[in-house]
């Protein structure tokens, strides 16, 4: 089964080709069959491959399809690599991807046939690119997937490209991503320059063989890779595209901008963890950026009224947690959070999509409310996912988030690389973030599902539960949000009774954690658990007090009135977009304008125009040689040929 | 030297006899066949079942007045039928029409039964010479100074050029599979495995269709198309000159059938039969003649069964149908050869 691994990629690609070729001829039914079918076949092959992989003992399986580039001593194979890390990613990408394909059948059903086909073609292409990214055995193949998901993200954000702001959002995502991609590309180039290979296994071996060079290059490589990761995974300062990316269809937001693509950065950091392990500085950078982003994005999320925007900022914030974990050297914990997050965040987005679908395209939570009675399944699944995200015990997010916080705390207490205080501070930020997360998520739940319906009467009449193809993915994902966490229950939670953190064991050979000698005692660990649960509970309580019951919304209004400047700053997302516009976008535009008007028009065009002018004059003079008689020309040609021959021979 | 010349001369005589005998026989077969298909009697007065009818026809043609219309280009008018017959006869000399089976005459091995057996580029020679056949038709059409003939000649030249391409591509597949340009080697290569018609079915189909076009036979007889161009390029010809065109048409049919058999159907061999000596020689000749006879009958059969194509349909079929098919066939064979599939 493992030698059929390439089929995982081949099916979505074939689906794309079929759909693009037949976009004008296929009806809704055929499109859905091809789109979902290819994702489903891919899922089946994945499950088969994973079953046979499970029978092995964590070896690394590589499959080389063909030699892609061979130039001098630079060779790149198009090869796939399956190890426990990519297996985990492969599993949830195909599962979540397949569910979202199914969900899309219902969600996008009102689109015209060609748009429907286009949508599924892009979605399949995304699956192909994402799986390439996950399975790539060398950095260049990973980069192909990396760019591929970027392209699909662009195409799908701008799916409704006839609306200007959607097209603009797509462009913004693409351009911001390019900045990060450039860092990644530089890292690849440097890796080749310094170690002569871009193969991941080869790179690891080369760095192990030459510790001196490895130490010299590790920080540069790691930081450049992380620049790539900040772009793709929407971290400070490159996070600005993700909230705008909500312009795409909601299933796309769920798949690309919550569950899979945006976690690619975390995956990449874990994939190259052997580089990060060599560089304390890079780890610290990752941790700080992650921690700050986690809280920063969470605060913005407090004041958003668009349901998808809140979820978007929540995603940015959660990605921050993942990087925080990775930065503390706990790569397995970070990937574990990626894994659980995929389920509950996809579920949340799809739930939001279901809500939007029911409200006839309305995304503003101020015009929702009381939907609980209209859409039971959506409400309950949304609630389960929210509890998971808020970190309530027994739900998936609790285990993974707590694992990260525990590791960061341990890093702080154990004084990892001598940056103990920084890590402790970051832990504090993480706890604050947990509180904010619980608060804004329950704010969403209360504003959307509880209270009175605040939309128009026409919309109220229209309210309905979504069809089965949309509800069933929700149920399955909600189920995943409950059970996914049980794979990585930390030892402390079972009182060191047995080693229950299966997930960390699984990933240990591929991405070993950077550990500190100091061990946190069981009591302290339980203390941390109780603290974070308490913080989450406090957040929920506050949200209920603010947004539930007859007084709903009154308290926040008073708060906003008390500190108007603070409120405006947060509601306007700290004016980051405006700052970027003033400092980057407009100067660039002006520079381009000057280059156009100054350099291009005057200097370059001037040279060319004068050249043309002299040529024209020369032509004016020479044209009298042209008699217009063909035989005359032939005569000259032959005469010239004879002269040339004579010159050559004599 | 002397013995060699005698053998070659013997082969030439056999060949010419075969070809020239084939013409009256085919005329008879065609007329009787047409009658049979159209449910009537056909010639049945001269000789038993009208067998002598073709001879009577040729005698009649011989004694008809040889008319030269006014305003024709005399030289070309005279030359055209000769070119046709000449080319038609010339093509046959590289076709191996039997297996020598080790028989020697005057101490000289007979070898494979073809005249120019030492020609290394047999297939190419065939293509080259048969491509000249168009001159006869075109010149006849041109020199007659008649608009019907001119149209016939024009159509013929366009049609022949178009279909020759597909035909050559189909032949290329065979050459590729054989690895030689010699026709006797093409036959030899087929004796140990499947006939080429099976692995190269596409090429076979293309060749058969192109063969009909190359011989100007229905459903592709646009060059004469009696219902619209009266008789096309030979409308002004009479007597033996007309007979020459008829002869060349039938000889071309024989040549093309022989080629089909040689290239795609194992030539004079039968799978699983290996005989030596004179018996083998006679059997191989009979096998070859039998296969050729089948295709000759096919020509007749198709002529009286299918309607004529329209000119644009003809061109479309040639360029958009056969050419891509022949290319696909060639690519498939190339892939097969490159992968070392022995059965191809």
């Amino acid at each position: 089964m493992l030698n059929l691994l390439w089929l995982v990629l081949a099916f979505p690609l074939a689906g794309t080709c079929l759909l693009l070729a037949g976009a004008r001829r296929l009806g809704h039914r055929a499109t859905a069959a091809i789109g979902v079918g290819s994702a489903g076949l891919s899922l089946l092959v994945t499950l088969g491959a994973l079953v046979s992989y499970a029978g092995m003992h964590g070896e690394v399986v590589t499959q080389t399809l063909y030699r892609w580039i061979a130039a001098g001593n630079f060779t790149v194979d198009l090869s796939l690599r399956l190890d426990s890390l990519s297996a985990v990613m492969l599993f949830f990408v195909t599962v979540v991807g397949f569910l979202i394909h199914v969900y899309s059948v219902g969600y996008m059903h009102d689109e015209a046939a060609t748009a429907y086909a286009r949508y599924f073609a892009y979605l399949n292409l995304f699956m192909f690119a994402m799986l390439t990214l996950v399975l790539g055995a060398n950095l260049l193949v990973v980069f192909v997937g990396w760019e591929g998901v970027g392209l699909c993200s662009y195409l799908l954000i701008g799916f409704y490209f006839e609306k200007d702001w959607c097209a603009a959002a797509g462009k913004k995502a693409f351009i911001v991503n390019r900045i990060g991609d450039f860092g990644f590309l530089l890292a690849i180039v440097i890796a080749f320059k310094a170690f002569g290979t871009v193969d991941i296994a080869g790179l690891q071996a080369a760095m192990a063989a030459d510790p001196e060079a490895a130490g010299r290059w590790a920080t540069v490589l790691a930081v450049l890779l992380f620049v790539g990761a900040t772009g793709k995974s929407a971290q400070l300062p490159l996070y600005v595209w993700l909230p705008d990316a909500m312009a795409g269809p909601t299933p796309v937001s769920a798949l690309i901008h919550a569950a899979t693509m945006v976690t690619a950065g975390v995956y990449m950091v874990a994939r190259t963890s052997f580089i990060y392990a060599l560089s304390p500085t890079a780890l610290l950078v990752v941790a700080v950026v992650g921690g700050v982003t986690a809280v920063f994005a969470a605060t913005i999320g407090l004041a958003q009224n668009d349901i998808k925007k809140v979820l978007a900022y929540s995603t940015v914030s959660q990605l921050g947690y993942m990087f925080l974990g990775a930065g503390a050297g706990a790569f397995a914990a970070a990937i574990f959070h990626v894994f659980t997050h995929a389920f509950f965040k996809a579920c949340l987005f799809l739930g939001a999509g279901s809500v939007i679908h029911a409200c006839g395209g309305e995304q503003d939570m101020r015009k929702m409310g009381g939907l609980k009675s209209h859409m039971k399944a959506t409400y309950w699944t949304f609630l389960v996912a929210t509890l998971a995200l808020a970190g309530i015990p027994l739900f998936a997010g609790f285990f993974s988030k707590d694992e990260i916080l525990a590791k960061v705390f341990a890093a702080g207490v154990g004084n990892l690389h001598g940056y103990g205080t920084v890590y402790l501070g970051l832990w504090g930020l993480g706890v604050v973030g947990a509180f904010l997360t619980a608060f804004y998520m329950f704010r969403v739940v209360y504003m959307t599902f509880h209270g009175e319906y605040r939309g128009s009467a026409e919309q109220r009449h229209h309210l309905h539960e979504s069809p089965g193809v949309m509800v069933w993915p929700l149920r399955i994902l909600a189920g995943g949000s409950v059970v996914a966490g049980l794979l990585g229950v930390s030892k402390a939670m079972v009182f060191d009774w047995f080693d229950s953190n299966w997930f960390e064991h699984l990933l240990h050979p591929v991405a070993p954690a950077v550990t500190v000698g100091h061990h946190v005692s069981l009591g302290v660990e339980w203390g941390l658990i109780v603290l974070s649960v308490g913080v989450a509970g406090a957040g929920i309580w506050l949200a209920k007090r603010f947004y539930f019951g007859p007084e709903a919304g009154a308290v926040p209004a008073r708060v906003a009135a008390a500190w108007p400047r603070l409120y405006r700053t947060v509601a306007n997302k700290y004016w980051v977009d405006e700052i970027y516009d003033a400092t980057v976008v407009r100067p660039t535009n002006r520079l381009a304008w000057w280059l156009w008007k100054g350099l291009d028009t005057v200097v370059i065009d001037g040279v060319l125009v004068s050249l043309a002018f002299f040529t024209e004059i020369a032509g004016d003079l020479l044209r009298f040689v042209q008699t217009g008689n063909v035989r005359n020309y032939a005569l000259m040609v032959l005469g010239g040929a004879i002269l040339a021959a004579a010159w050559l021979l004599l | 030297m002397g013995a060699e010349l005698i053998v070659i001369a013997g082969k030439l005589i056999v060949l010419a006899t075969l070809l020239l005998t084939a013409v009256p026989v085919m005329v008879w077969v065609e007329r009787r066949g047409a009658a049979f298909i159209q449910d009537r009697l056909g010639p049945n007065r001269v000789g038993p079942w009208g067998i002598i009818q073709p001879i009577a026809d040729s005698v009649k043609l011989l004694f008809k007045e040889d008319l030269t219309p006014a305003g024709v280009n005399r030289w070309l008018y005279f030359l055209a039928p000769m070119i046709s017959v000449f080319i038609a006869m010339l093509t046959f000399i590289v076709v191996p029409f039997g297996d020598g089976c080790g028989v020697t005459i005057l101490g000289q091995p007979l070898g494979s039964l073809m005249v120019a057996s030492e020609l290394e580029v047999g297939v190419l020679y065939l293509l080259a010479i048969s491509s000249l056949g168009v001159y006869g038709i075109v010149l006849a059409g041109w020199s007659s100074n008649n608009k019907y003939s001119l149209l016939g000649g024009l159509r013929a030249s366009a049609q022949l050029i178009s279909y020759e391409l597909s035909m050559a591509l189909a032949v290329l597949g065979v050459i590729l599979a054989t690895g030689s340009l010699r026709l006797d080697e093409v036959v030899a290569a087929q004796s140990g495995k499947l006939w080429n018609a099976v692995p190269q079915f596409l090429g076979f189909v293309v060749f058969v269709v192109a063969a009909f076009a190359e011989t100007n036979r229905l459903p592709f007889d646009l060059a004469e198309a009696e219902t619209e161009l009266v008789a096309g390029y030979h409308v002004e010809y009479s007597s033996m000159k007309f007979a020459a065109f008829m002869m060349s048409e039938y000889m071309n049919m024989v040549t093309v059938s022989a080629l089909l058999v040689t290239l795609f159907l194992g030539g004079s061999t039968l799978p699983g039969v290996h005989l030596e000596g004179w018996l083998g020689l006679v059997v191989s000749l009979a096998v070859f003649l039998g296969k050729v006879a089948f295709f000759m009958w096919l020509f007749v059969w198709v002529r009286w069964s299918l309607p004529r194509f329209r000119y644009d349909q003809l061109m479309r079929l040639g360029w958009k149908g056969l050419l891509p098919l022949a290319t696909v066939n060639l690519v498939l064979v190339a892939v097969g050869v490159a992968r070392g599939w022995t059965w191809i």
């Binding site: 044209r623 009298f624 042209q626 008699t627 217009g628 008689n629 063909v630 035989r631 032939a634 005569l635 032959l638 | -």
Partner: protein, 101 residues
Amino acid sequence: MAPTISHFVILAALLLGIGAAGVLLRRSGIAILLGIELMLNAGNLALVAFARQHGNLEGQVFVFFTMAVAAAEVAVGLALLVAIYRRQQSIDVDRLSVMRW
């Protein structure tokens, strides 16, 4: 006595000269194209002769390329002639001087 390379080269030179004369002296577009074909063929003959002299195949390979070029030239040339004929009902190249200056 067998013909040597010189014989073939002389023949080639004669054909080339005749072809050149045709190109330079005739006014019919078709005759000019035919002259060009003749010149190309003379070149081919010389190439084959030289290839024989040196005992390698390069000359023969080159002849193939020449043939392909000749085919391309004829295709375009004849298409041009047809286009010209449609325009002015004549293929006299001396009438084609309207595009000068």
